[in-house]
């Protein structure tokens, strides 16, 4: 199955033709699966929704206050406890954190992916590494950072190592999947010419991997930026996330939160433009 992420950034052509000619029983199996899944999801949702609202909860009041805060945030952004320059500094820190963890993660993950692609590695190693990575991926980034902040002390070291953990696990999987997409015939051809493994990796796998390597790494950078903010807030690891947390839960100043959200949105806009450009380049 194509992972959904694949579609958003790497528009792969969906097989549109053959879908209509699938034998009836396959279409039935699909329909039953979809209907059943929807039924289960719907049931869970309907059962959960009423239990989420506490007994004497004033919903209208909460909604009013929420709307008010949104208004303050977006229409009256203003700084009180800090300056714009210092905010730019902490935003820069979050960006650096995202960059550094993506860089380290992509290098390490590349080697793990080589050891866990079906094209090169034995099945046992593939399964071993992939399950190990699945377990690491299952632990949320914040928990990794919290754990490492006990070992290394709170600070950049814990933040970098914690976010890198998750990045490596994620990138290993997507890189290995991209390598698996390379046709086995290409590898066989190189083997038939008597090439050594190192030469096959360098001359056949890497040139073919570059486009998807770049787009996946970029996607991970976007995720790491979001993670850097979250980690700053939830683990006190600094950056604009920490400021955001302080302004909203310590000073209760939503004017300030507004400024920071605008800054983050501006950077996200830049990323979105870059990813749009990358996609346009790839389509040529």
């Amino acid at each position: 199955m194509i992972k959904p992420e694949n579609q958003i950034s790497i528009p792969t052509q969906l097989p549109s033709g053959p879908r209509l000619s699938i034998p009836l029983r396959f279409r039935d199996r699909r329909r039953v699966t979809i209907l059943l899944t929807l039924a289960v999801l719907g049931y869970i949702t309907l059962m959960t929704l009423p239990t989420m609202i506490p007994s004497h909860f004033k919903l209208t009041e909460a909604l009013m206050s929420f709307a008010e805060n949104i208004k303050i945030m977006f229409l009256q952004p203003r700084l009180v406890n800090t300056t714009f320059i210092s905010l730019l500094g902490v935003l820069g820190q979050s960006i650096l954190l995202a960059f550094l963890t993506t860089l380290i993660g992509s290098v390490l993950a590349f080697f793990f992916a080589l050891a866990s692609t079906r094209r090169l590695a034995p099945t046992s190693l593939v399964l071993g590494i992939q399950s190990f990575m699945a377990v690491i991926r299952a632990i949320p980034t914040v928990l990794w950072v919290l754990i490492y902040s006990v070992v290394f002390g709170l600070g950049a070291n814990a933040a970098v190592v914690g976010i890198t953990f998750h990045s490596v696990a994620y990138l290993t999987k997507v890189y290995a999947d991209s390598m698996d997409e390379l046709s086995p015939e290409i590898i066989e051809t190189m083997q038939a010419m008597g090439l050594k493994k190192s030469a096959i990796i360098r001359q056949a796998i890497i040139p073919n991997l570059i486009p998807s390597y770049l787009s996946w790494t970029f996607i991970r950078f976007e995720i790491n930026f979001a993670d850097a903010i979250a980690v700053g807030a939830a683990a006190g690891a600094g950056g604009i996330g920490y400021q955001l947390f302080m302004s909203s839960s310590f000073y209760f100043n939503f004017h300030e939160v507004g400024v920071m959200v605008y800054m983050i949105l501006a950077f996200a806009l830049v990323l979105e433009i870059i990813s749009y450009r990358l996609r346009a380049v790839k389509h040529q």
Binding site: K3, R30, L49, L143, F165, S248, L265
Partner: protein, 266 residues
């Protein structure tokens, strides 16, 4: 040596030069970023300390068994909230995507408005969502639900919109040519065709939200994130380890189920 070989030497030299330059730039950027953050590279070599510490302290002991009940309960809540947030967001996203997709939209302005709106929702950090919601809705599941809901809404609207646009204009026009109404085109022509793609997006978002729910819980003081923080801050590491273990089990299970459904759909 003839000129042809020289030309080729130039070609390889240029390639090598570009690669070297790239490596030098990335290396410099690495050093610069490390200094800017105060990150010490040797801590990468001490990664095993964290794992060792994890194994030593997080091995659930006798005392932590007493926490099982609470953990399972909170884990279940977290899971339910994540599923509910995804499902609700999916319904609204589908509606927004149908009227926003370029191939179906009644007016191109609407399409751009929805695009911008979804981009906004998606890019506001989940921390900001959690904190504003916490202020108004206080410490309860509804806060976490809404934070996940808004982010998922932004994400799925864009994903659904792209899926519908990938479906192509010609097929929709072909359906319209048969005299089908707008709603018939959508419900009988479009939706059955893209149902599989939509489903895989929803499953992926559920997976992701189960993980993010932990983060949101940590910030808003609910669910499994909250109890992890509680145990962790009060140095009850055995119990915290049990929380981590249960999160692993939940996320891996969700991933396995979603893979299974994916296989049934293919």
């Amino acid at each position: 040596m003839n000129s042809n070989v020289e030309e080729m030497n130039d070609f390889f030299t240029k390639k090598r030069f570009k690669l070297t330059l790239l490596i030098v730039i990335l290396g410099a950027a690495y050093i610069g970023a490390s200094m800017g953050l105060g990150f010490q590279s040797h801590s990468l070599l001490n990664i095993q300390d964290g794992i060792a510490w994890l194994i030593q302290n997080f091995i659930p002991n006798e005392a932590s068994k007493g926490y099982w009940h609470e953990i399972v309960q909170q884990l279940l809540r977290t899971f339910l909230v994540a599923v509910a947030a995804t499902s609700c967001a999916a319904v609204i996203s589908l509606f927004l995507a149908v009227i926003g997709a370029k191939t179906l939209t009644p007016a191109i302005t609407i399409s751009w408005v929805i695009r911008g709106f979804s981009s906004l929702l998606r890019n506001i950090p989940i921390v900001a969502w959690a904190m504003i919601l916490l202020f108004s809705f206080k410490q309860n599941d509804l806060t976490g639900f809404l934070a996940l809901f808004f982010m998922t809404l932004g994400f799925l609207t864009r994903a659904f919109m792209e899926t519908i646009e990938d479906f192509g204009t010609e097929k929709i026009q072909a359906l319209q040519a048969t005299g089908a109404t707008y709603l018939q085109v959508i419900f009988q022509g479009l939706l059955p065709e893209i149902a599989v793609a939509l489903m895989s997006w929803i499953l992926y978002m559920i997976e992701n939200n189960v993980r993010d729910a932990t983060l949101v819980g940590l910030l808003t003081g609910t669910g499994v994130g909250f109890i992890f923080n509680l145990y962790f801050k009060s140095l009850r590491y055995g119990a915290a380890g049990l929380v981590v273990l249960s999160v692993i089990i939940l996320v891996v299970t969700v991933e396995l189920i979603s893979n299974l459904i994916g296989r049934l759909l293919s």
